[in-house]
């Protein structure tokens, strides 16, 4: 391994950190009884024994074997890897926010509460919904929360037969999983030849056992569901609800709202659309915004503005309860709020416009060297299929992805959605300049050219990284999950 485990760099007795000595009256400390033996810990734990410099060098070196948006373009479809503003990072480290305890009296947390309240107002406007909750801690958590509210809504109305959620087959894996965790049955909706929801299939599957249709718009192919108003009318006519997965919100920010499209409940991914950092896999935040019908079911506490200031309100009788320990990932909410303040209404609109511009440009420039099954007129992302390359040269999407790594790019999303074979989903985001896009396009084209000329070389990529492709079968058959 390039960088040994910190535990393997340990030396007995070495310390990275010291505590001040216990400053209590000696008599007291000496007389203090230990815990009863029956509940005392006996087993020693092995943690590193290293110096502070060792810790610093270890993690600094590890960070050189990681790749973020700050390092280079990250066209990872469906993840919206846009630039994470440093102003947000700076503000998220202010003591005035980090040193506030969640259970302090609300009279002492008016600053944090006002940020959360104002964020809810802004997100309501942005989504065209009435109000929401900031408690869910990730997109999937937002899905879980939104679907639970839908379930509670129908139960209150006595419509307990609504046990199904309809989800397009191209949906993100968290959609059916979230439905299932809530005790719903999942039925897939087919796509038509344009890659959009097949209205006939939807009509056939809609009945009064359906609680909601869960979809995103644009869909995971980056294509706008043009029949969305027809779809929401159909769904509402059957007494079911429309759930919007906000993962692709970056395509329509300031241009359109899920509310106007007929959606009843929306979750957002602040770590995608609102530029909060991905952190290597979180923490994110998944606020859920709802219409009037679902409002009573929002998790508690709600944040309200009264004559005496902001308060946490626990009164809602129909609330589904709590979905996280406290009030939400506050420091992530704060970053999203800062982003919205910076961008403003025109800035957000410009973000989606340029995200769509960038995606269309890249699609157009790659259309002659690879198949784009649903056409080059896309929204903020598009999907290419390398099936032809697989058949002719034995090169798979994975191979092209790995070859991109050698060129300093994080690969696009691979093999999703499953309706396209050998799929690569490319989402440039609005952060990338024309020059960056062109450089990416040229590299991508050269890899595809190399795939034809020297497929064996491409199949062996990456070459420049500390390790090559790892044996995933071995990782499962001989599990080594801890030191």
């Amino acid at each position: 391994m390039r960088e040994p485990l910190l535990i393997d760099q340990s030396k007995q007795g070495r310390k990275a950190y010291c505590y001040p000595p216990l400053d209590l009256p000696k008599g007291f400390s000496q007389a203090l009884p230990p815990l009863p033996k029956s509940i005392q810990r006996e087993q020693l734990a092995r943690l590193p024994e290293v110096s502070e410099l060792d810790v610093v060098r270890h993690f600094t070196r590890l960070s050189t074997m990681a790749h973020g948006v700050d390092n280079g373009m990250y066209p990872l479809g469906s993840c919206t890897m846009k630039y994470n503003p440093k102003l947000s990072e700076h503000i998220a480290k202010m003591d005035a926010f980090t040193k506030i305890h969640p259970l302090q009296d609300v009279s002492t947390t008016q600053g944090s509460l006002s940020i959360m309240f104002n964020l809810l107002e802004d997100l309501s406007s942005i989504t065209g919904m009435k109000w929401g909750t900031l408690q869910p801690l990730a997109g999937a958590h937002g899905e879980y929360t939104g679907l639970k509210m839908v379930k509670a809504y129908f139960e209150k109305r006595g419509e307990t037969g609504r046990t199904k959620i309809l989800i397009p087959s191209s949906a993100h894996g968290t959609n059916p999983a979230s439905a299932m965790v809530n005790g719903f049955e999942v039925l897939s909706i087919e796509a038509n030849e344009k890659g959009q929801v097949d209205l006939d299939d939807l009509e056939a599957k809609l009945d009064d056992s359906v609680a909601a249709v869960m979809m995103t718009n644009p869909n995971t192919l980056g294509i706008f569901e043009q029949d969305i108003l027809i779809i929401s009318k159909m769904v509402h006519a059957h007494g079911a609800m429309m759930y919007y997965d906000g993962a692709n919100m970056n395509a329509i920010l300031g241009m359109a709202t899920p509310g106007e499209m007929g959606f009843d409940v929306v979750h957002l991914n602040l770590h995608k659309t609102f530029a909060t950092p991905h952190g290597g896999g979180g923490p994110g935040s998944g606020p859920v915004m709802v219409n009037d019908a679902l409002r009573p079911f929002l998790p508690k506490p709600d944040i309200q503005l009264t004559d005496s200031g902001y308060v946490l309100d626990w009164e809602s009788e129909d609330s589904i309860g709590k979905v996280s320990m406290f009030w939400g990932n506050f420091l992530v909410l704060l970053r999203a709020y800062v982003y919205i303040l910076r961008m403003g209404s025109e800035g957000l609109r410009s973000a989606s416009a340029h995200a769509v511009l960038n995606a269309n440009y890249v699609a157009k420039r790659l259309a002659d060297v690879c198949e784009i099954p649903y056409g080059t007129q896309c929204m903020h992302e598009f999907v290419i299929s390398l099936e032809e390359y697989r058949q002719k040269y034995g090169i798979r999407a994975q191979d092209v992805a790995k070859a991109l790594i050698d060129k300093g790019y994080h690969p696009p999303t691979m093999y999703f959605p499953s309706l396209v074979s050998e799929a690569l989903m490319i989402e440039p985001t609005e952060s990338e300049s024309l020059e960056t896009l062109e450089a990416f396009i040229l590299v991508f084209r050269s890899i595809l050219a190399q795939a034809k000329e020297d497929p064996e070389y491409v199949k062996g990529a990456p070459y420049s990284t500390p390790v090559g492709r790892l044996d995933e079968v071995k990782a499962i058959k001989e599990p080594n999950l801890r030191y």
Binding site: V473, I476, K477
Partner: protein
């Protein structure tokens, strides 16, 4: 192209069933093992438990996918194929020899409702 064997019966979930006396052997078809890729783990069902037709009874995992095994006929688990514990890839090698589990006291009616080789073959062509 996947292999379909004559004297077995099949479910639409890509399991096969072979009757030997009062025992029913259940496994996954060639189509299923090809779709999964290299199999790394098989979750075997507990012995002595009764499973209905259509109940999820086991999971077969490859690196990229986890496939639920839907019990094709009602019965009581008599034996699970312990060979698969250490060598799950045996299924890739020969999926019709290496069964997953054996049922006893099974439902003849359920067996009757399964597809014969020809019907299963036709079904595969529609996918």
């Amino acid at each position: 192209m996947s292999k379909v064997i004559e004297n077995l019966r099949y479910s639409k979930d890509h399991e096969w069933v072979r009757i030997e006396g009062d025992l029913a052997y259940v496994g996954i078809t060639d189509h299923a093992q090809q779709e999964l890729g290299e199999i790394v783990f098989v979750e075997l069902p507990p012995l002595g438990e009764r499973y209905r037709k259509g109940e999820e009874i086991s999971t077969v995992e490859s690196v990229k996918a986890a496939s639920a095994i839907i019990n094709p006929i009602e019965g009581v688990v008599k034996e699970a194929n312990e060979d698969l514990d250490g060598s799950p890839e045996l299924i890739n090698e020969d999926c019709y020899t290496h069964h997953l589990y054996i049922l006893t006291s099974f439902s003849e009616d359920d067996y009757g409702e399964l597809l014969d080789a020809e019907a299963y073959q036709s079904y595969l062509e529609t996918l």
